[in-house]
Amino acid sequence: MKPQSFPWPDDGREARESVARVRLRSLKESFEHLCSHPLITFFVWLLIGIALSLPAGFWLVQHNIGVVAQELSTDSGFTVYFYKDLPQEEVETAANSLRRNPIVKDVDVITAQEAWEFLMASDFDEELDALDSNPLPASLTVTATQETDREQILELAKWASEQPAVESVEVDTEWMVQLHQIRQIASRLTWILSALYGIGVVFVSVAAVRYAMDSRFEELRVISLLGASNRSMRRPFVYCGVLYGFGGGVVATCIVVLSLMIIEQPLQGLANRYGGSIQFLAMDYLFSFILIVVGSILGLVGALQVTVVQIRKNRYSNRSR
């Protein structure tokens, strides 16, 4: 016969509810706790929501700057100006030889007459009337493909400038380099800000959850005194934290959506100026889901931090004489 290893025989008190039911009940109680303190709950949701929406918003901005820069960089290339009164056939020949180059996406031929008509349509018509003849040469607008780097464009422009019919070449890559540099600066800045706000949001979340749970520390102390395991002590607090974080994530989603709705019109106007082909990344279901999950995780981290520290404190305070 196995020797008795426990002071008392099991009288049925150790029969437990299923783990799922215990957790479900704990979750229900946590939800009720949030509902019974609506102001605190709203405040915590708002705090976490604002803190979370900042890095999320910056990430969206950073991503969209990349999209804009990439889209605009496809329009880079150079302009070839021919000598005045050059026969149109020679212009077409030069255009065709450029079109055969693999880095060239498009070559737009502007005849001297077309250039003159374009100029006549401008506000300088009175000054232009004084001229006897068309002073403008024919030209080509060469657009490079998206993958082309600056060096390749410069090399092709140099080759074009060396052609006997060509008077001059104007390379458009300078602004592209500037845009690229601006994009890099903006990208790095937004990463730094996103990282800083990301760190900030962890502290804000922990502080917010701590504030919300402050009134329940006594409960934690009492439960520990009654002999609850650390896990069962943590459970209602962890669920509360997750609910706070979940709500914060929803608020953050709403803030970002509202912000995007406000700036959508001017942003689209900007996009239209550059051909209207730019597709800005807006909030979608996946992004909202990620935001809510991140919020919930932050709430969980906050609650764990708070409860672990508090349980440790209780352990020491219980050791008082």
Partner: protein, 230 residues
Amino acid sequence: MSSVALKSVGMDFPGGFELFKNLNARFDDKAINFVVGRSGVGKTTLLQIIAGLLPPSRGKVFVNDINVTGFNRSEMLRYRKYVGVVTQNSSLVLDRSVYENVAMPLRITGMSGQDIRHRVGASLRVVGMSDASNLLPTRLSSGERQRVSIARAIVHRPKLLVADEPTGNFDRELALEVLGLFDLFAERDTVVVVATHDPNLVSHAERVFELENGTIESLSRKQSSMESAE
């Protein structure tokens, strides 16, 4: 017959302070075991060691001849399900109703909602607090709070009940009433250990232990040996 026995129990605190040197005592059921001693002598710590809330630095605690100091974490959690604790200052959660406070030990064990309602109702009836079930503890007097604390300690029908100054906020009449309640438990095979610094409360008690200078001594035995010497 249930019992709690301390064998050479010692307790040190950080900084080298030795609270208990060598405690040897046996607490039985059928009557309340009173532990007396001046403030700060270690009565609360002793109760925490017995309740499994604090491990001793040295020695062993035997409950029904089983060494509980050797219990691992899960065994100790199981052990605590059989222990009721009444704390010095009632330790109620003030923003939870009386019902919720009393139900706490049962929730910890994962009991079903229906059983909890039944047990809590019975416990509150025993301490005469049925009408206060839905009230917050802040609406209660200190005596009533202590009664709720006692209801919480007995709600899971403990086999070992430790109470730290349970009658500190009571007048003598109410204190005797509560002790009568503890007596009932003691008669039902529950080992009841009550710490108090009120000598009047234990003047007619059957079993009294005095905690002093890190040792414990049965006053009943001391008195009886003094009487026999006379």
